[in-house]
Symmetry: C2
Subunit: 390 residues, 2 copies
């Protein structure tokens, strides 16, 4: 096996890490859009439609929900939350499932909020009874949860978590880090009563990196409007961005900072594709492929970081390597076979596991052999590395 040409793109190894993912030809073509003014009507219409489509992707019909699409990495989403929805001195409960909770907690600290982390063992997630006890102990302005932890492949359950928060601490905002879940895991923003879901363009949504994407509920926007202190960031301030997002969605030119016009076109293209069939089918397809990957992993005698099926993400799989094998041994072998996986990211065990991303076009486009080739490459690669070590 070597690199194959599965599209109009040059032959290249299949990128199967938990983001960035492979991109569709039409999306990459949109990236090369000719220069446009950010305040011209053709672009304003595209940006406005993009914001409206996001409402459908997040499944929110409340007109008071507020979408944001801002030039930046996914990380900027944390600043958007911490600088606008928390105030100095506020308490925030951060549910910890891996690497990303530590960073989100750091971000809150930067803006003066107190972040309390509720930790679970590696591969698990905080249990509802522990969350309930924590919520009863102190009044938290926000609770954050990483929907899919890219460092561990752990999936959190949002529906029951949100129900619990509403029962025990109804004013607490439920903030979902959906960087590795939006576009591949079910998220029913309205019916699950979520307050913030933040994500990035380069994961299951299938647009190149460079866009921070956030949906806020009516409750979240009211919390923002009731602030006693100004937001702690300038570039991430809702004071600056809310009028801009409202204007673009209402097809009115508006300026605070120049939007990344080509990336917005690419996002428009991929969201159009995502919404061209029912979201339920998209989520079902990701579950189906995830089951196939996880069955293959089990057949190879390998264990996942997340042992419980109900904790396992559907857009990625974090896999412990055989005893004594390290990522620098197996990853170059897979690359030679035309497949790119990612190494470990969770500091305590980074050298012991690899991550396989199965999201977006590699999963949805039945003509792409990416997933089957990756499973075969993994099987052959492991055997070759084992053999070479003997």
């Amino acid at each position: 096996m070597a690199d194959v040409k599965t599209s109009n793109q040059p032959a290249h190894p299949a990128l199967l890490i938990p983001g960035p993912i492979e991109f569709d030809d039409a999306v990459l073509n949109s990236m090369g859009h000719y220069a446009e003014s950010h305040v011209s009507m053709p672009f304003v219409n595209v940006f406005g439609e993009t914001l409206s489509m996001l409402r459908k992707v997040f499944q929110t019909e409340n007109p008071a929900s507020q979408p944001f699409v801002i030039s930046g990495s996914g990380t900027l989403g944390w600043d958007l939350v911490a600088a606008n929805l928390a105030e100095p001195g506020d308490d925030v409960l951060v549910l910890h499932t891996g690497y990303f909770a530590d960073s989100f907690a750091d971000c809150f600290k930067t803006y003066g909020a107190n972040a309390t982390q509720l930790k679970a063992p590696i591969g698990d997630r905080p249990q509802l009874d522990a969350v309930e006890a924590a919520l009863k102990e102190k009044k938290y302005k926000l609770l954050t949860v990483t929907h899919v932890d890219t460092s561990t492949g752990v999936l959190s359950e949002l529906k029951s978590l949100s129900k619990l928060v509403r029962r025990v601490s109804p004013e607490t905002l439920v903030v979902v880090d959906g960087v590795c879940s939006v576009g591949c895991e079910e998220i029913a923003f309205d019916s699950w009563d979520l307050d913030v879901v933040l994500t990035a363009s380069q994961k299951a949504i299938g647009c190149p990196p460079g866009l921070s994407i956030v949906m806020c509920s009516e409750r979240a926007m009211k919390t923002f409007e009731a602030r006693k202190t100004p937001p702690g960031s300038y570039f991430a301030s809702f004071v600056n961005w809310v009028p801009i997002m409202k204007n673009y969605e209402n097809r009115k030119p508006s300026y605070f900072a120049t939007p990344p016009t080509q990336l917005i076109h690419a996002l428009h293209t991929t969201l159009t594709q995502v919404l061209s069939s029912p979201l339920s089918e998209r989520f079902a397809r990701h579950r189906e492929i995830s089951d196939k990957v996880k069955a293959a992993v089990a057949e190879l005698g390998l264990k996942q970081l997340a042992p419980k099926p109900e904790n396992q993400a559907h857009g990625m799989t974090a896999i412990y390597l055989p005893e004594g094998m390290t990522p620098p041994e197996i990853l170059p072998n897979l690359l030679k076979k035309g497949v790119i996986f990612a190494g470990g990211l969770h500091k305590e065990i980074a050298t012991r596991y690899i991550r396989f991303g199965h999201m977006g076009v590699s999963v949805m486009d039945e003509n792409r052999p990416d997933i089957d080739r990756a499973i075969t490459a993994l099987k052959d690669g492991l055997a070759e590395v084992e053999k070479a070590k003997k």
Copy 2:
């Protein structure tokens, strides 16, 4: 006249606003690069080379100068300065030449610094004796200057300004907002002893929007390292970004937030083009075309916002419309002729002027008819609108 096909791009009106500008075919092709891991060596090498090339574009040979390329709008550059180089309570002197100084001052205020604005009349810039008097009155941690004010077309003189600061207040950092100047105006970072120059990708550098680009001097980095308080932003924190930028430039994979891989490729492509001939020729060509535009404007009996030749930018021209004519009258006429200019941005006089951007490929590529067509369109358009009003 209608839209013309001057490249491999679809026919479209020539974008001649002060950014985004027209992009070269090779740059737009780089935007469609296939998916790559942000920590793979092919991408790490491209990002590393990009950072090294920026040193040449800014004309700095001091290895302790620090380049940054971060996913975000040009506006993010203000946060990078205000959150990392100023501390709460610090005094900052903001030289005001238009719209952007007000916003930069707001940004400093967000992070707790006290911004004092030194204002000039519209179309002019603060004079050196006034700057000297201000510097003697109070100790300023930073002085900021907008090299080219996109709202007025006013050019500031950096060399003598920096010399003055070193003489009167040697520790004050000289911060240049070069959003509309880097790539079209001479900037000699080392020999003029500048401390920060910030810019955005979509102006004279010629890469689509979505990258904040900053160069910091050794003195600026020492000021950052001597901070007594942590930076006020998380996404814009040098604590997070300095190790990442150093690692990429040393060709080592590194992760804080996913870089916008396609935009980095496009920046690499355009910087390679910019550096393919001496920078002095590039600046001379921009001056030559600017002289031509300004002569044509004078011949039409129109006045510039910046009346003094030494105050006039070379990458754009801000032009007062004939008495009684407004941007909504002339701009659609120009659009029909295949040319896009921008309306006014300076709040007090926004309805009385238009802005003509002449930067990058429209100026450097002698095969492109953009500038000549724009001058003809302006002449014809003004006559038609005048006639229709009679």
